[in-house]
């Protein structure tokens, strides 16, 4: 077969082109011209005429191909479309005053070093005739090409994605930019996808072979980052619009940190306190985005009033963004999209931060830029009062330190010890890897994101106490609005997500796993004596599984009790330690290391405690 002489099939690229063309062909096109540029062997010629009643006209430089097509009874013309200066004139001569309904360039643009003049000529024809244009182009960012390139391999081939004659290589982003610069805009697409492209070799390549950990990991990352990893050829239908050349300038320098504050406008006094804390920051290298969620006019005015009350230098850096849909994760995603900072940190509208909250993150960035930056958060019970006719908050307890000072990925798999205000996330995770908050989660969206983020970029701990997470004694807060059953369901969802994909562990975490396994082994009951009539291995396995299930249940029960609305509304986590006679508050991270007996003690102590009984009314359902 001659090079590029590929027959039409409904299933192949040409079938995709015809299907797309059929969807977007202008009304009343019967008898009009379909101009096929870089037509080669005109694989779609007869189909265009037969299916749509168009008159096919092919244009190419290759005399051999043109002769072959001409012999099939199709109209063809020879023109050098790579020669600058006369492309539109040449095409106008070919059209010769006839009405054009559609234009196609199938796998042709990549053979031209600078296709801008050809695209401009096509746009002119599309505008003049009210025509539609259809393009196909090989995708150089196909997974097979990308994975091999990442591992040091780049191989041209006689045809295919890395055809040796290709002069310009396109991915989705660069193709959109080239079209926009010429004034062409996609209105439909019918991409031709191949899980295994012509670059899917050598056989068994660990990055390409389906089912390998590496392949699954790369696929997960790639799918989040950009959706066209399996696209072999882009097949797009375009119409004309304004010419919008893309300037490839560096992103304007933003601040170090974008602070995203979620609010429903129901806690204005608390919001004012958050903003006050930001006004007191020793580092002012930040901007603030206040996300107002489903607010009434009165609540919006309250938020605007709170913003107007801050010092001028801070007010200038605050943007209020209204969101009228979605959940907590939606708001964070909006914050990510709006952010200009290198890092993004989220505050709820009742959090408090110390003067070095931003500075501690900024100091970490100098040494560990690119990682998730983490500081330490304290917890404090608080209440609301009305003093001399003015609404206010009132600290109800001293601060406690229930959260781990140093981050452990393994421990965070079972328990989140990083309230979100104590982490700053690199914005590049969203910008470059497409990492978004999971809006199917109604709680724990921050935990889920943190685990995914840390897995990819790692974490740097400052060890500094820089924030206070307030639990409300008598009224709801963002976390206590959700009943514990819902919380458990969300935790299961996070678990399932983690279990469904390969996870990259930060360095040092295997040591933590070994430690946990050894502890569990040491704590496990000795297996029963072997009995010849039994399958000992099966019995041990059965008992082990039962133990693991039981321990998981105990962990979940403790975690859900500690996070429950009624428990937080009562004496606080530290009381658990007192109740169980250890005299010290429980650190959330310690729950993981407790024996089964200790876990049962904690559960019994909470459920029999006076505060638990008193707050029974808070446990819905």
């Amino acid at each position: 077969m001659r090079k590029y002489d590929n027959a039409y099939s409904i299933e192949n690229l040409y079938g995709h082109v015809i299907s797309l063309l059929g969807q977007h062909l202008p009304e009343g096109s019967d008898g009009a011209v379909h101009l096929d540029i870089a037509s080669g062997y005109s694989a779609i010629g007869e189909v265009v005429e037969g299916e749509f009643g168009l008159h096919y006209v092919g244009v190419d430089i290759d005399p051999v191909a043109l002769k072959a097509v001409h012999e099939r009874g199709l109209e063809v013309h020879q023109a050098d479309l790579a020669e600058p200066g006369g492309i539109l004139a040449a095409l106008t001569a070919v059209i010769a005053g006839r009405r054009v309904a559609s234009v196609s360039v199938l796998d042709g643009l990549e053979h031209i070093a600078d296709g801008s003049e050809l695209l401009a000529a096509i746009r002119a024809i599309v505008v003049e005739h009210g025509a539609v244009s259809v393009f196909s182009l090989p995708n150089v960012t196909h997974r097979d090409v990308g994975y091999k390139l990442a591992l040091g391999s780049w191989e041209y081939t006689p045809t295919g994605l890395l055809d040796v004659t290709h002069l310009r290589l396109y991915g989705e982003k660069s193709l959109r930019e080239a079209f926009a610069a010429a004034g062409l805009y996609p209105i439909g697409r019918n991409d031709y996808s191949l899980a295994e492209s012509d670059q899917h070799y050598p056989a068994g390549h660990p990055a390409l072979q389906p089912g390998t950990n590496l392949n699954r990991f790369l696929n997960e990352m790639r799918d989040d980052a950009e959706p066209s990893g399996r696209v072999n050829q882009f097949v797009w239908a375009c119409v004309a619009g304004p010419q919008n050349p893309v300037r490839h300038e560096a992103e304007p320098p933003g601040p170090f940190l974008t602070v995203v504050i979620r609010t429903q406008g129901r806690r204005i006094a608390e919001l004012e306190e958050v903003l006050l804390c930001l006004a007191g920051q020793s580092s002012t290298d930040f901007e603030v985005i206040v996300i107002a969620h489903r607010t009434s006019v009165e609540q919006q005015l309250g938020i605007e009033g709170a913003v107007e009350g801050v010092p001028g230098w801070l007010a200038e850096r605050i943007r209020i963004v209204h969101v009228d849909h979605g959940n907590r994760a939606t708001l964070l995603n909006t914050g990510l999209e709006e952010a200009c900072g290198r890092y993004v940190a989220a505050l709820d509208d009742d959090d408090l931060v110390f003067a070095h909250w931003v500075q501690a993150f900024a100091d970490l960035e100098l040494k560990f830029g690119g990682r998730v930056l983490r500081s330490v958060c304290a917890r404090q019970q608080a209440d609301r009062v009305r003093v001399r006719e003015a609404d206010a908050t009132r600290a109800h307890s001293g601060i406690t330190m229930p959260y781990a000072r140093e981050f452990s990925f393994v421990e965070h798999l079972s328990l989140n010890s990083t309230p979100f205000m104590s982490a700053a996330i690199p914005r590049a995770l969203h910008r470059d890897l497409g990492m978004r908050y999971d809006d199917t989660l109604t709680t724990t969206e921050d935990w889920d994101y943190l685990l995914r983020a840390v897995s990819v970029v790692g974490v740097a701990d400052s060890g500094a106490l820089t924030a206070v997470y307030r639990g409300w004694v008598s009224q709801d807060s963002s976390i206590t609005e959700h009943v514990h059953d819902e919380w458990i369901l969300n935790q299961y969802a996070v678990d399932r997500k983690l279990d469904a994909r390969p996870v990259l562990l930060p360095a040092g975490e295997t040591r933590a796993i070994r430690k946990l396994v050894r502890q569990a082994s040491a704590a496990a009951d000795a297996p029963p004596p072997a009995r010849p009539e039994h399958d000992v291995e099966a019995e041990v396995e059965q008992r082990t599984r039962a133990r693991v299930r039981e321990r998981d249940d105990l962990h979940l029960r403790v975690v859900s009790l500690l996070e429950s609305r009624s428990w937080r509304a009562s004496a606080g986590i530290r009381a658990v330690g007192l109740l169980t006679g250890r005299g010290r508050p429980i650190k959330a991270s310690k729950v993981l290391r407790m024996s089964d007996e200790q876990l049962r003690e904690v559960i019994a102590a909470i459920e029999s405690s006076r505060s638990w009984r008193i707050t029974k009314v808070l446990r819905r359902g």
């Binding site: 006094a269 004012e272 306190e273 006050l276 804390c277 006004a279 007191g280 020793s282 408090l352 931060v353 110390f354 003067a355 070095h356 330490v376 304290a378 009062v385 009305r386 003093v387 001399r388 003015a390 609404d391 206010a392 908050t393 009132r394 600290a395 109800h396 307890s397 001293g398 601060i399 406690t400 330190m401 000072r405 060890g463 500094a464 106490l465 924030a467 206070v468």
Partner: protein, 190 residues
């Protein structure tokens, strides 16, 4: 006027018609633990970190006692003199002010030598000035045995002043105004 007694809670809302001498704003991110009335805001003393008072009354009371208190305790002393004169001291949590205080990584106070010295000295001076010999004796006894040399130096400084007759004039001979509760100058909420 409201009367306050050592170890008892702060004023009740019934005192709301008593003129206000000092109004204190709430400090953030670390709120001071001293108790205040949840309706009237009445409290034992107002922190000098951010308080407001009328100039005339302040001058009439003689201002801060800078001879007795180099650092710390001067605000407690001023507050109690207002109360002795029949004014209320009010804490208004709706007025918030940012005070750059920081804690250690485990949530502990990081007191400097200067802070420890002058805190100890002011405790002794307050007990003396506000006619609480019982408190003074307990403080002298416990501080003298402190392992922290800074505290023992503060005790020595106090005793030197006493020997030199450089202590301030004592106020409130009945000792009913000043509050000395578990080492604090008010009932604390936690």
């Amino acid at each position: 006027m409201c009367s306050l007694h050592a170890g008892r809670s702060v004023h009740s809302p019934r005192c709301s018609k008593t003129p206000i001498g000092i109004a204190e704003a709430k400090q953030l991110p670390l709120e001071h633990p001293k108790d205040y009335d949840r309706v009237s805001g009445a409290t034992s003393w107002a922190s000098g970190a951010f308080s407001m008072f009328r100039t005339a009354e302040f001058r009439d009371l003689g201002g801060f006692d800078h001879d007795s208190f180099f650092m710390y305790g001067d605000d407690v002393d001023l507050s109690w003199r207002y109360r002795l004169r029949g004014f209320q001291v009010i804490f208004q949590p709706a007025a918030a002010v940012f005070h750059d205080k920081r804690l250690g990584p485990d949530g502990e106070w990081l007191a400097s030598d200067t802070e420890r010295y002058f805190s100890a000295e002011s405790a002794l001076m307050l007990a003396h000035k506000w006619s609480r010999d019982d408190v003074l004796e307990r403080l002298l006894e416990s501080m003298s045995g402190f392992p922290d040399e800074i505290i023992r130096r503060a005790v020595a400084g106090y005793l030197d002043r006493r020997e030199r007759g450089a202590l301030p004039e004592r106020l409130d001979p009945e000792g009913t105004t000043g509050e000395f509760v578990a080492g604090n100058y008010a009932v604390h909420r936690w």
